[in-house]
């Protein structure tokens, strides 16, 4: 049985086709999220990747901020549950998931069967989210995907003390004007995100294993800083950005089986 998961976020669209709820048959990831043409395009690409047609799909579950607006879905489920299911599928030992997405950060704790026990999310502030990194990368005129490379070259990470994105922006500009090297600034920015998210994580009791999901998981600068701050190593999978979509496809499978 093929099921389909679509995760429509604020800045990206991700899709996964799963076979029998335990095998990834196709996937896609596009920038452009809710309100763009990316969700439809991502659906097409994932089906193409899996060599399936719409009629081959037994059920579709949508997640992410755009979940309620995706009309072709049989189920809609929160990204909290989906990130839990997706992470548990890739790392069966995982109990704590730290997800940093485009506009929010969340920490999810799972029981030993992979069910969500509790979660915490950031408050309304953009600090500690992907948006913070986007803004900073923009000031430094480097692609957000390269932050990690720069951060690795840092000699002495700069201190970004403001948690507010707007304040941090002017802080970075003045440090830049003061001659601080870009790699040191980038490392400071990564540490600032890590500091903010680790404070959130510590409010939920962190049980290992810990993994990261979401776009920012790709950034080793943030990952390493976070790992140091929470005192646990952090698992990383190249599928990290797809955990939500994987979880949605698994959810659709489980629901379908129950209904049958």
């Amino acid at each position: 049985m093929y099921t389909f998961g679509i995760d429509i976020g604020s800045t990206t669209s991700k899709c996964v086709v799963m076979k029998d709820g335990n095998q990834i048959a196709g996937k896609s990831l596009l920038t452009g999220g809710i309100g763009t043409r990316s969700p439809a395009e991502a659906v097409r690409l994932a089906m193409e990747d899996a060599h399936v047609q719409r009629e081959d799909l037994s059920a579709i579950a949508a997640t992410g901020y755009g979940r309620t607006r995706y009309e072709d879905a049989d189920y809609q489920v929160s990204e909290l549950s989906c990130h839990g299911l997706g992470a548990f599928f890739i790392f069966p030992g995982v109990r704590t998931i730290i997800d940093i997405g485009g506009q929010d950060a969340k920490v999810i704790s799972l029981d030993d069967r992979g069910r969500m026990k509790n979660f915490l999310m950031n408050d309304k502030c953009a600090a500690g989210t992907g948006r913070f990194l986007d803004v900073m990368a923009n000031i430094l005129a480097i692609p957000v995907g390269e932050l990690e490379t720069y951060s690795a070259q840092a000699k002495e990470p700069a201190r970004i003390s403001s948690t507010c994105t707007v304040f941090a922006e002017s802080e970075v500009i003045s440090q830049l004007a003061g001659g601080i090297e870009i790699p040191d600034l980038v490392a400071g920015i990564c540490q600032s995100v890590a500091g903010r998210v680790s404070a959130l994580a510590k409010r939920i009791s962190i049980v290992p294993e810990v993994c990261m999901s979401g776009g920012v998981a790709q950034n080793a600068g943030v990952r390493d800083a976070l790992s140091e701050k929470i005192g646990h190593s952090i698992l990383f999978s190249p599928y990290a950005q797809l955990f939500g979509a994987i979880g949605a496809a698994i959810y659709a499978y489980d629901k379908k089986i129950k209904e049958q």
Partner: protein, 408 residues
Amino acid sequence: MAEEVKKQRPPLDPNSAKARLGRIAAEAYSSAQAAKERGEMVGWCSSNFPVEIPETLGLAVVYPENQAAGIAARGAGERMCEISESEGYSNDICAYARISLAYAKVKSAPEQDMPQPDFLLCCNNICNCMIKWYENLSRELHIPMIMIDIPFNPDYEVSDDELAYVRAQFREAIRQLEELTGKKWSEEKYKEVMEISGRTSRAWLAATSCARYEPSPFNGFDLLNHMAVMVTARGKIEAAEAMEKLLAEYEENHEKGVSTFRVEEKYRIMFEGIACWPWLRVTSTGLKSRGINMVTTIYADAFGFIYEDFDDMCRAYCKVPNAINLEYSRDKRIKLCKANKVEGLLVHTNRSCKLWSGFMYEMSRQIGEACDIPVASFDGDQADPRNFSEAQYDTRVQGLMEIMEARK
């Protein structure tokens, strides 16, 4: 999603508790207006000021917090907040204060008008923002402010020293008001008011405790409306009668197996914090559409003002929710959660109310652990609509529901 049971709602029976409570809440404004027109002095009063004092003296008072909630619920929170912000008030200040200060300036808001004050009654047992808010009103309007200082209580009991401190201030407030308004305090009238207030409170406690039934015979959002009467009119006989009617209706609902929560009750939660008035429909629909009934809130406990004499009354005002420590506050909530078989806790991190929201992170964590229930929180504001995100609310409520569902 729970299916809405499509039944034609009968027109509101004028004799029902809901209709009566609505009338009492409206009369609180109209009778003060009438008093003003008769040339009597009218006061503005903070919500946890001992209402027994103006009631016994026969003084008309209105409640700026209630007015601000009404204005916000009817969509004018932003307009009013902007007025006070343009006067220089920071948008970090409680939105009730901002709306009230704006109203004192423009003196009109069709969403909820009320007479201008001749004196102010302030009590800081709910927060200290209140003091500056009322001091500024007093200065701007050139009217006297009577202030009762009730310290934050680190203990479970009210010490004799605190009692003496507060009692003396209550007596002094009475003396000041007698002098100011020419009205006279009567012990006999006070006893009557105390008895009525006790009757109203007992009925309120009994009615709200009907949430222990499964399903609950009422939608918890009802309490947020009925609460206005507990704040403004609990010393009035009509209020006692209406609350007793409410209790009778809830008991009857339970016997008949019906509820004012008009969809299937799949989950039962406690809602923590003041309602998000500008987004009341969105917040309530987000729950109802998922079959989540907010069966209880701390308000259920907070307005149980039952006491035997003047000293006891002073103690009651020293024990209102915002004046007590984290542990005591937590225990009260744990009791409510257990008594009402609550399965989850939804916390409104209210950007207006620092006092209420400040220790909520830790308190809700402790409640979650003690009751073994999941906790979710969302950002919002009781009266400033700019501090709320519908998508954020929806995701968190859904996450909470999915945990409760998985645990069934």
